[in-house]
Symmetry: C2
């Protein structure tokens, strides 16, 4: 494989693996001839599937996994304890060893996060990793994080999320200068949790290379007010799932309405090309591929129930991240953040000293 970029793929993760994984791999390989692949899992099965993949087969090395695949029911703690040698473990380990620029899996999210943290470790300067995802909005897409890697985040962590989200938007959404918004419940500076207000102050006072929009509200996510929306993992997870639930309900209501009688069915049939285009705008496969940011290596989580097309989108995210300046940019910004915080701390200390003197 030499100097070509390699992507490491968990062949056995997800509801319809390994079939959709190999389908997605072939679709991606055809579109992006500059990448090679490591495919982890049941060698016999994967080999048989790859036989029908003229683009992927010559550029893919199959690595047999000795352990059975991690299932959707495996608890994270168990995955970490007993997962060594599974296709998921090996896919991540290839990134750690420098054999691949990124790993992709459609397997169990909790297990993937726990294993990734254990194998790759958190990057220096980052307190907690975060899960970032692509959210369709009225103007295109935005990046939202944290989607649930952790349940809380203090001000400093929120700023780190902002930095990581910005670098993600550059790498994956190809936006050179994305705007960053902090999710809050009002646009005014006085509202919301203290850590959010502190994070806003920290961003404004740091010399970060960042286009900071300020606070955004829930409805601003879909409106596309900011390119990157930053929040803690609890709120981000609730927001994402609530929006998914709403989209599902509306789609079902529309389907019910348009099949509710002969006239509606005729109308819907005539408008079908437009309705299909509408549907594809909401197709979750187009935004498939959440990235676990802040580790020493890139791990992409594909939706477990996706198909080959959806999985190819997750590989695209891994490819874009793997060939980007993500890590270098993150390191540069973290240095600036640390400097700003050190300066703030020394000012505070000087201030405290001064007021002590005044008190005397």
């Amino acid at each position: 494989m030499g100097d070509r970029a390699v992507i490491s793929i968990d062949g056995m993760g997800g509801d319809h693996a390994p079939g959709i994984v190999v389908d997605g791999l072939e679709a991606f390989a055809k579109a992006r001839p500059e990448f090679d692949f490591l495919l982890h899992g049941d060698e016999a099965k994967l080999k048989a599937l790859l036989a029908n993949c003229p683009s992927a087969a010559p550029r893919t090395t199959i690595r047999n996994a000795e352990k059975p695949a991690i299932t959707m029911e495996t608890k994270p703690a168990e995955a970490v304890r007993r997962g060594k040698g599974s296709s998921m473990w090996n896919a991540i380990e290839a990134v750690k060893k420098g054999e691949a620029v990124a790993a992709v899996s459609a397997g169990n999210t909790g297990a993937l996060m726990a294993m990734s943290k254990l194998i790759l470790r958190t990057m220096e300067g980052v307190h907690r990793p975060a899960l970032v995802g692509t959210w369709p909005n009225m103007k295109g897409v935005s990046a939202v994080l944290d989607l649930g890697a952790d349940i809380v985040a203090d001000a400093e962590q929120l700023v780190e999320f902002a930095i990581m989200g910005q670098a993600f938007a550059r790498a994956v959404h190809h936006k050179p200068n994305p705007t960053i918004g902090l999710l809050n419940i009002g646009a005014e500076d006085l509202k919301g949790h203290e850590e959010i207000r502190e994070a806003a102050a920290l961003i404004r006072n740091s010399k970060l290379d960042m286009k900071f929009h300020g606070f955004v509200e829930g409805n601003d996510i879909s409106a596309g007010v900011a390119d990157v929306v930053v929040t803690d993992g609890f709120t981000g997870n609730v927001a994402l799932k609530t929006a998914e639930g709403m989209a599902k309900m509306i789609s079902q209501m529309l389907r019910t309405a348009l099949t509710s009688g002969l006239t509606s069915k005729i109308g819907a049939a005539i408008a079908m090309p437009a309705l299909k285009k509408f549907q594809s705008g909401l197709d979750p496969r187009n935004s498939n591929g959440a990235v676990f940011l802040g580790l020493n290596g890139i791990v992409v989580k594909s939706h477990g129930g996706t198909d080959g097309y959806g999985f190819s989108m997750a590989i695209t995210v891994a490819a874009d991240m793997g060939s980007s300046r993500f890590k270098a940019e993150l390191t540069e910004q973290l240095v600036k953040l640390a400097a700003a915080q050190a300066a703030a701390a020394s000012t505070e200390q000087a201030g405290a000293g001064a007021s002590e003197e005044t008190a005397k």
Copy 2:
């Protein structure tokens, strides 16, 4: 007016007041002959509008407000300081004086909440009031609270929200035995914030008359998994606005698709009755009327931009709450909660004593 139930209405609150307020009043008065009304605001204007309201006029007493109306720009603190004598203030005060069973306003939410708290005070046994709203779901509607009265809630407050939401679902959604869900990011008992897990334990251990479903996730709200969804005001506000934003985006995408060419327009025209029915299922006017729960009196907040039909729905919520057993039920349940907590505290103390003895 005698023994008839009276509803107190802020005639001047909202973007299109007093026009839509009086329109809504007339629509409600026609449908519900058992209620009388107090209408607060600019007497001359209100009198002129009421002249065209054959159902409402004979049952409405206009109370002139000396102070100018609270605007959408008025800060809550200012509203409290200088709002006495405004139509909003007088509408709430009529509830305090026992002249009306509930107040309704389409005015500034922050000002209404602050004034209501000041005038009516928090009910005994309730730590913090909560804002509850009606959320359409696949099976009908659910009640979601807190939508932003406060930004945090500890375990005990979450249980109080559950009790208040349950009583609201009985009174307004006419569900005799509603199921209660706690909003979390996973169905497992180990996930989520400590206060949510504690609240679940507290509900299970209290002898509350409550059908507790356990944890629900964001997507479960629109799926209608629970009749009442309980969360803190920050999360609830983000979830509500995120869902509204998603619904708005989808509606706009659908409109764009169905007007994108002659064929689509023809199809849409044929399917128009079905599309209109679909739209009305999503009509926010049908779920208009959020209630500020936990005070010594009922205050209903109508959406500021609604029309007459929407405002009549908010009056309906006030009427249903005002003629319900809400307060009695709440009091009974709060007594049970206090007893359960006292029992838990004494067990804990006994337990602590025992382990101290063991330590000796």
